[in-house]
Symmetry: D2
Subunit: 353 residues, 4 copies
């Protein structure tokens, strides 16, 4: 209830700071009997891992997850799954120089205002390192959601944006380090990130996600609509500034006669501006949405800012940082989508007598 | 927990269908001693009311709220506030012809898939008539939030969009029936709605919102970030397809060096691409965000669709409908923002010893 | 979250004060398709109703419930069920004399300490009149729990206690006005209540409850154990001071060799000291428990007490009050049991794929 | 939401099985700035630890807690506190013989019915080993509740019960291994446990608890009454069968004129049958309650039972078990009381502007 849990029946609660002893979490409500493929979990973690390519942060983290409960003889037991990811490469010293400094567009100032106390090392709790727990839990949610296919990909890096006329191939996504389903654009995005990194500057971008084979009936109106909870889950990811599903912001410019999705006799629709959701409930068509990420706040440039006394100070990002978070955030978007869907599936089962 | 509540400490739970006896709700957790200005609540309801102008639905509803508890001698007592809004103008007969029909881009099909049973009259629970309860609760939240100023307005109707170069004046908003802070654009939007209405077609649009005088420290990372809960609240409003705050989707194209908000010595920032929120917590700068609405699904045109047996049928919207929901949704956006802020203020008080 | 809701998936939220306009509630999560027998609900309300016999309060209340939503053509639709019970016989004037007085062992003082503001008429929110909403919701839960049989009865009034050697007959319960399943004891209890009433004094008592035909697997360890949530539900009823299930307090004096319930080959047990619950989960045997009620705090005698300035004052109960709440609390105990079971049944369904 | 969390704002979520890798939990919502006395936490754990005396289980567990987050430079930061207690002395082999056996009055059968899968080693999740997490969290809650004094003690072991005429001295509690505040009775209880242990049998008992210096205003009627949540917390402890507060079950035999607590001019009461709680809210007088524990189900005797095929089998408890859980449950009762109070204190702060 205090901000570190997500989900009602399939629920993740997390703990952990960027440079503390460890991060971890508790997955509650995963039904019993789910076969746990530990290699799959490792693979998911590897997609998010620092140091995976030349365009991401070079922090070296093992990112090995230890499971402490809830799994017995390779299957879930229905009891809570406790897990821990130890921090192994904390260069806390890197952060002594910013102990009292409020970095621009970071959460240093707001955490101080909220809590009074703060673990300043590497952003502490506000660091995106926290998302490692989301990927662990999301991987387990995916193992539960055997029939549903969730595919996220990079559709924008800075000004380079995938448009409707660019062909996409989901098989291409993991073939390039930006995770774009169009090899040509992927290569342009990679070049852009490389060049912006050299300048010590940073980039934002957009991740798109498609969810296929969703059963009908998921979502809990009027407040926990499927897209409302999806949107919240995405907005809770570090650096996210926007969420749109189906026709999204562009849809607001259309006429109803154009936007309405006509039903076919097989209870599918000919178009899918609804994005697979009507009245907050899945209609069986693919769900798709976009998530906007702001450019990374840490720059390898000198910046003027203030310290906690309000005095003007100069600072320069050291540490090891991503010039663009989007490539590593792709598995995080998928993980959050999996958690939301798993929760709605369990909620909907209350109507199965 | 089952979708009809929002908020943790300042919580609204609602009930009611479009053409049932009544709608209503329970507001839990409003602190005691809040002076209830019943005229203000009426005024807020009037801004949402059907029939308020020629460009909205002509359904005639008194929209009178009756309070049954939690208010004593003009002040809240801290106990739950129960309220009811009776339906007075239910023309249920209008809906007999769509009893078994799945209207395109409505929730008829998905409600049937989810629940099996459905009050088909006027959309039942999926109707935006439910938002009358949100406006009642939002008005009470506003009375609690005496120092915070929440201003929503229409910034887009179809292809007509307010841009950065158009001057805006908040005093203008209630002077025109589309609720646009620029009189010139307001008049264009009004014309567009009128002409599209004549064609029996419908429009979408965008509502923008600015929240001023927000205390620092509001928001509960890592999942209940201020913008994540705001986003969810907005996405839970009928017809909403997207949410962005601060620099939003456009921000994803910027460089970090351009996007970072520099601090001044007074702990304010020179720019505000962060939209008043850093790390999910308010920083004291104005919060601002945009909400995208799809075009209304009900058309006064013939449409081909299916019935609940999957048979193709022809249907035509009768009933009384808005050609564009945006003008009436302005107070709803404000209400949801007020509810989210009230909740975060109470949550933050747990740290006040 | 703020004290006026119970249940996770089958959830009741209530509002209302003793002498306000109305009381009511919202039942969320009741599955669709439950046939609503309105006569049954009336009958349940009648069992709790004031004025039903000479040994209960003579306040005259119609106690008619109006349903506003969630029921369509006689069946639930799965959407929230809003309901209201109007107060028709508020003699608020009766309470002017205690406006500033803290009645002994009432909640006047504590409500003032907690909220600062208080509707003093008839105890306001702290009045047991609030339980009318519990009986409405419990009746609907019972209609959902078609196979489960919940039977509560009076097993103690003051010093008169049903013992193991007294024969009991559930058919007898509604044949006498104290609701005791032994006619002989019932008549002694009735006499005791009548005589204590004449003295202007009051009595406590005990209600026992048996739940038969419970499916196995209900309960959510480790915190939401079946008996833990049952206990909480009972302790939330006005005037309750204790809860025990199965062997209860007496069981604490037994040896393990005597207390252990041996399994039979049909997965039943020969004894049932466990009270149908092992490890917080139902085992299919009958659940049984006892609930202790304190003597009513309102006396028709002069009492010395203090007012809100801490000054000593004399007061005398006027109003209309029960000399013993136990007979009218029998349906309330059943209602709370029904709500808890309905919730656990829905929770358990999350494991039914 | 699925049974492994307790509390709304000060919330504990736990994981872990008796013979898994580790147990642990997440404490959410502990305010920042609480100074963590690690020696105090160790001391609390020692009071619960197996092997602490000759009358408790001889399982050897280090019971060392590792904190992974939420504490920085010796103080809480307001972010979630993740902690782990490794299992070091799992003799899982001890349990191979009961893999398919349903031990009488244990949770083997019910866990199988509920979840289908089960970690059978040492009771798995249903083992009281889980309470180690409660003691860790309770210790932190106590460090937060600096002004409130919580004292639990053994008041009954089998048929030996502390009565009102037995003098008690809280300083005596930790001087004897049963934790009884009367040395004479303590010695009798110890003898009883020793002799029953020799017979391979087991005992139940009663723990009483007194909470002093409680602020007024704690508790959230009508469902989350202070005693309702206390009762639930106690009933959630392994082996608990009953809870009563204030005058309890005995109070149900009293007359109102005798039971009412008269106010003094200092807003205290002359008697305290209310147990410090009126209308579900603390009134500033000491809170006191009793908790009944059943005799331990594991006997070192031969017992006939069934296996998961319903076949009759003979079994004999091996493993290492307590003949009576009451002495070790004293710190657990205190821990749960501390968690409940900490939560209500944070909830009440929402009314402090």
């Amino acid at each position: 209830m205090a901000g570190n849990s997500i989900g009602t029946l399939f629920q993740l609660t997390t703990f952990g700071e960027s440079h503390g002893e460890a991060l971890g979490g508790i997955i509650e409500g995963c039904p019993s009997g789910v076969v746990i493929d530990f290699d799959f979990i490792k693979k998911e973690l590897k997609r998010r891992k620092p140091g995976q390519s030349k365009i991401v942060t070079q922090r070296k983290e093992a990112d090995e997850v230890e499971f402490y409960s809830g799994i017995f003889e390779g299957k879930t037991t229905g009891t809570p799954i406790g897990f821990v990811v130890k921090n192994t490469n904390q260069k806390s010293k890197d952060y002594d120089h910013i102990k009292d400094v409020y970095r621009p567009s970071h959460a240093d100032f707001t955490y101080d205002e909220k809590y009074g106390e703060r673990d300043y090392r590497g952003g502490g709790r506000s660091s995106a390192r926290e998302t490692v727990c989301r990927v662990v839990a999301g991987a387990i949610a995916k193992l539960f959601l055997t029939d549903i296919k969730i595919t996220a990909y990079t559709s924008g890096v800075g000004e380079i944006q995938l448009t409707k006329k660019d062909p996409i191939d989901f098989n291409e996504i993991e073939n390039n380090i930006v995770r774009c389903p169009n090899a040509n654009l992927a290569s342009k995005m990679e070049s852009l990130i490389t060049s912006v990194k050299k300048e010590g500057d940073s980039l934002g971008g957009i991740i798109s996600c498609v969810i296929e084979n969703v059963p009908t009936g998921l979502g809990e109106p009027v407040f926990d609509k499927l897209h409302a909870n999806l949107g919240k889950a995405m907005l809770s990811i570090n650096a996210v500034k926007g969420f749109e599903y189906g026709s999204g912001f562009e849809g607001s410019k259309m006429r109803g006669s154009e936007h309405n999705d006509a039903f076919t006799s097989s209870k599918k629709t000919t178009t899918n501006y609804s994005g697979g959701i009507q009245g907050g409930i899945s209609n069986g068509m693919p769900i798709y949405f976009n998530v906007a990420f702001k450019p990374v706040a840490t720059l390898i440039q000198k910046q003027t800012t203030i310290n906690n006394k309000g005095e003007t100070v100069e600072m320069q990002g050291k540490g090891r940082h991503d010039p663009c978070v989007v490539p590593r955030a792709v598995p995080i978007v998928e993980a959050m989508a999996a958690l939301v869907l798993a929760d709605f599936i369990l909620l909907q089962r209350r109507f199965n007598s």
